[in-house]
Symmetry: C2
Subunit: 594 residues, 2 copies
């Protein structure tokens, strides 16, 4: 199947009908984030209730997803966010992306709501075919059990994405889980923005995708595509971060724990200080050691692993499966932002506790970043004490049990702050901030403030320049003029999020020009366009503009492109700096949209 043969699959949850539509011309060169954002921006009213019938939940594989391109098994999940009330795209790997593309789906658009709010459904997608199936027996089931139950019923090991109990209960902290490639865990998350609640609001529990027999998507220009993917693969393999036995394969994303702690930018105990005394205990190095011990103990007879592919064909393999509680349980994956959110940010420095909290989030369908922030604010409010791991687990169980405190915390950090009258809530546009304090690292703060998704590091990961360095040069993290840096990252990211390539390809392609060039060439070969490196910025810009204009119609103005007050009034130890980037500098990022 050619990329151009894929169709728009519309699922109407009010009338319980499905429809395959030929791709309209305006969507023909769009995929991934570019397509989810285009559909939301043109079809959802800016002021629609995010959990109401007028919102839509769109799932779109990237431009090269489903092909033989390396590290390209990514989907974008889009909708109006219940957290930010603006547009949201959340990106994930797992089994679904390649399968969804190969099933012929350019975008799945879930629309409307059933009038019977107690009737629950799964959406079953096969190649060129789709149906809505009754799924009341899946209601309130943990995601681990759900995946196993689906595998019993559909033995092709389909892709599964869905709303856990949190999403079904319309909690704004709910992400959309996806099943792993290497095990049966719900470890792939389109976590942010509360999109799990959007899916839940449509009474959909799981979207099950089977592409059997699984033919790769074919590029329009095969030679161009193959040369491009070859050069990209070489870059990925040769880079010390993304390559074989590189940083990500050894420690996963949690390689960052010690680095960011060292930089004094690890938000600790609800963003009160920038270093955590127990950071090393919950770091990637600690995971790695734990996995090594288990492999030795079990003579290799274990699922524990520190180099999983999160999507088939990934070269980087930054995922993992980490055992905890004396090897009685396992979480997959254990990411940096998660270990920070549920660890350092809550003052919890025990890897078993953090892993267990992580698994609970995965099981209940919760975004770990939002939930860790929410628990941190609850700790600030005195609901439980900082460092109280058992209290945190109890709060987590309350989320699943739907108690009042469970609902407060499950709705995310801003809701906890609102309910408990706490102003130290690290968020932008209602979505809480991830694991990098912007006070000592200005560029990431500019991204948090100005990107259209709300508090989000992946929307313009300037950490790559400000901490890790690009081509051997580190941009001073404390320099104030970061509008340009953030804009370039935001534009490039909007393109990458549409391409189907994992954002982590950036670690190598920003260093290795030939890899970046190959990546763009592979996209051009797939689509039959003349795209070159020079098109990346403008293509990304177009997507950002659509998103920002949607946000304007949703009531988000430049006044929302700001960090919370405490970032400018509370200096962060150990560097004792406030954020301090001016509004004028922030407004330079997207100067053409007032």
């Amino acid at each position: 199947m050619l990329e151009s043969e894929k169709k728009i699959l519309r699922v109407d949850m009010k009338n319980l009908t499905v429809k395959w539509e030929d791709t309209p011309d305006k969507y023909k060169l769009l995929a991934g984030r570019g397509l989810t954002s285009a559909i939301i921006a043109s079809e959802v009213p800016g002021l629609a209730d995010a959990i109401g019938p007028k919102n839509k939940l769109v799932v779109a594989p990237g431009m090269v997803t489903g092909s033989t391109a390396p590290t390209s098994g990514r989907i974008s999940v889009g909708g109006k966010s219940p957290l930010t009330n603006g547009i949201k795209e959340a990106n994930a790997g797992g089994r679904t992306p390649h399968k969804l593309a190969r099933a012929g789906v350019r975008a799945l658009v879930v629309e409307n709501q059933p009038s019977d709010r107690d009737a629950w459904y799964n959406i079953l997608i096969r190649k060129g075919d789709a149906e809505i199936v009754q799924a009341n027996e899946f209601r309130s089931m943990g995601a681990y059990d759900l995946i196993k139950k689906v595998y019993e019923k559909y033995d092709t090991k389909p892709g599964i994405i869905g709303a856990g109990v949190a999403g079904q209960n319309l909690l704004k902290g709910a992400g959309i889980f996806g099943n792993n490639v290497e095990n049966t865990d719900p470890g792939r998350y389109a976590g942010r923005g509360g999109l799990g609640a959007v899916l839940g609001s449509k009474n959909v529990i799981a979207i099950i995708t089977d592409d059997s027999p699984g033919e790769p998507i074919q590029p329009v220009d095969r030679d161009k595509f193959k040369d491009g993917t070859r050069r990209l693969s070489e870059a990925l393999r040769s880079h010390p971060v993304t390559g074989d036995d590189g940083g990500l394969q050894n420690y996963g994303t949690n390689i960052l724990m010690n680095i960011i702690n060292e930089a004094g930018a690890l938000p600790t105990r609800n963003w009160q200080t920038g270093q955590f005394e127990d950071a090393a205990k919950i770091s990637g190095e600690a995971h790695h050691e734990r996995v090594d011990q288990v492999i030795e103990l079990t003579a290799g007879n274990t699922d524990a692993c520190y180099a999983h592919a999160c999507n088939p064909g990934c070269i980087i393999k930054c995922s993992n499966a980490v055992p905890f509680n004396n090897n009685t349980n396992m979480v997959s994956a254990f990411e940096y932002e998660t270990s920070w959110a549920l660890g350092a940010n809550c003052g919890i420095g025990n890897i078993d506790d953090v892993a267990e909290l992580n698994r609970m989030c995965n099981d209940y369908g919760l975004d770990t970043i939002e939930t860790g922030n929410a628990i941190g604010v609850a700790m600030q409010a005195g609901v439980i004490a900082f460092g109280d791991a058992e209290g945190a687990k109890k709060l987590m169980r309350e989320i699943a049990e739907n108690t009042p405190n469970g609902r407060i915390v499950g709705n995310g950090a801003v809701t906890v702050g609102n309910v408990y009258g706490i102003t130290r809530v690290a968020h932008v546009k209602g979505q809480s901030l991830p694991a990098y304090d912007p006070r000592p690292i200005k560029g990431i703060g500019v991204t948090y403030a100005t990107n259209p998704m709300g508090g989000d590091h992946t929307a313009g990961y300037t950490i790559a320049a400000e901490i890790l360095g690009i081509k051997g040069t580190v941009t001073d993290p404390r320099a104030m003029d970061k509008a340009e840096l953030s804009r370039v990252f935001q534009e490039t990211t909007a393109f990458l999020d549409s391409s189907g390539y994992c954002l982590f390809t950036a670690f190598s392609i920003l260093d290795i020009d030939d890899g970046f060039d190959g990546l763009v060439q592979s996209v051009a070969g797939m689509l039959g366009t003349e795209y070159t490196l020079a098109d990346v910025g403008p293509l990304g810009r177009t997507i950002l503009d659509m998103e920002i204009n949607f946000n304007r119609s949703a009531g988000l103005s430049r006044a929302h492109d700001r960090l919370p007050e405490f970032m400018d009034s509370e200096p962060l130890a150990p560097h004792n700096v406030v954020f301090g980037v001016t509004d004028e500098e922030l407004d330079k990022v997207h100067p053409h949209i007032p």
Copy 2:
């Protein structure tokens, strides 16, 4: 004392200092709402945390408050609202307004926060003198007890306004209570916008004002003033709504219950229908009958009363004191919006239950409109059932006890909806709507949507034209072209809220031109200006513009000048109409501020 001799009293709660400032030129002709809004707009950053140190709580008597003018004992309380995040003015009568003016205060500005968050204070104001006094013993005390305790300490029966336990606990549903004139109840409320939480965030419990010996403020032009007040008094006395033995004196504001129910615009069971089968049982007529019975039973030896003045010198006397639970208890006052919010909107049709819920709100420091809406949404969410009065009382007690559900409900309707995933939340800009469904009465919906205060009927009470009629003519409530009507009401109101005259003077002055002319003349005589009727609109306009511009800096755009989605998707019985006023019509109200 001349009006021009009043000063700005600044109370710094961080340094615990007070300062009397000469009135800067720019504030010289401002009072009431015009002054509170001017101070907030020029001194509070748009993005300040509403319960943080940068917000200010401003209390300002009106232009003629403290004088001998009738029905002029009103204060404006202003701040950035924790509910709307925009500017807010809430207006109240009671003992404080005249006394505050006569103590020489043009505006009291409470600034900053104590670093010790557990240290509580009262502010004590005497003529030309003020101090901050330690008040930890008042913490968490009910407002009924608090007033009695203050009266024990200060036997001059001072004016008292303050934050109840709700405000002290930073709940967004918290109003600012004030003591009554005719009894010791905390029945005067600057209720809306969550300003009680702003005062609580500054660790201030009560503001106690003693103007002994109580000399009236003197006008600049005595003859002009006296002629104006005389003509206004005549209009008030001769009008069937505001005059002796008129509608308001007999039934209070709750004369509206049967009228609005008859109009099919009484929001019932969380805005699901427009008529309540038990409306008559909780109406002004029912109060009146109850009071009559008690007067007869006790041979007049009772505090029960249906014609109280809410401020000394008021001609209208629309307040009351209504006994409940077999005369074992009393609530003062029992207003229409309260009886609606805690009655019809919760499906509670028993006057004793509604009165008890009203008294609980008064005691805890809660806005009845916000709290009734919050309970209605909680009923919608299934926390308790519609009509469950005992459940509602339990929820109320939970607010005082600070339980999780208490905090959810105490933070108002939008928070309840957010936490429980309910979209039928009747609000604008985060503040819940009062007792007039805008679906069958379009003009009040235009006011709700476009006035700078969020969901608020008093900001432009088109009900006067659309239901009650002006000069014998009723404007068709279902006509869609209400931008002009709402604008005129909003502008006139902004002027009246600044004048110190009660808004209810409008009932007569809109019918009797000479009364309106007299009112304006009395203001001109007080200030020594040449104001005429033609200045009312432009003066109000200036205030609205200040407020809207503040809101823009706070992130409120035209997209926030809208009613919630369900108002356009759920037709309201019995007329089965949706709101339907276009965005274009709404944007005509303030067309010059994009």
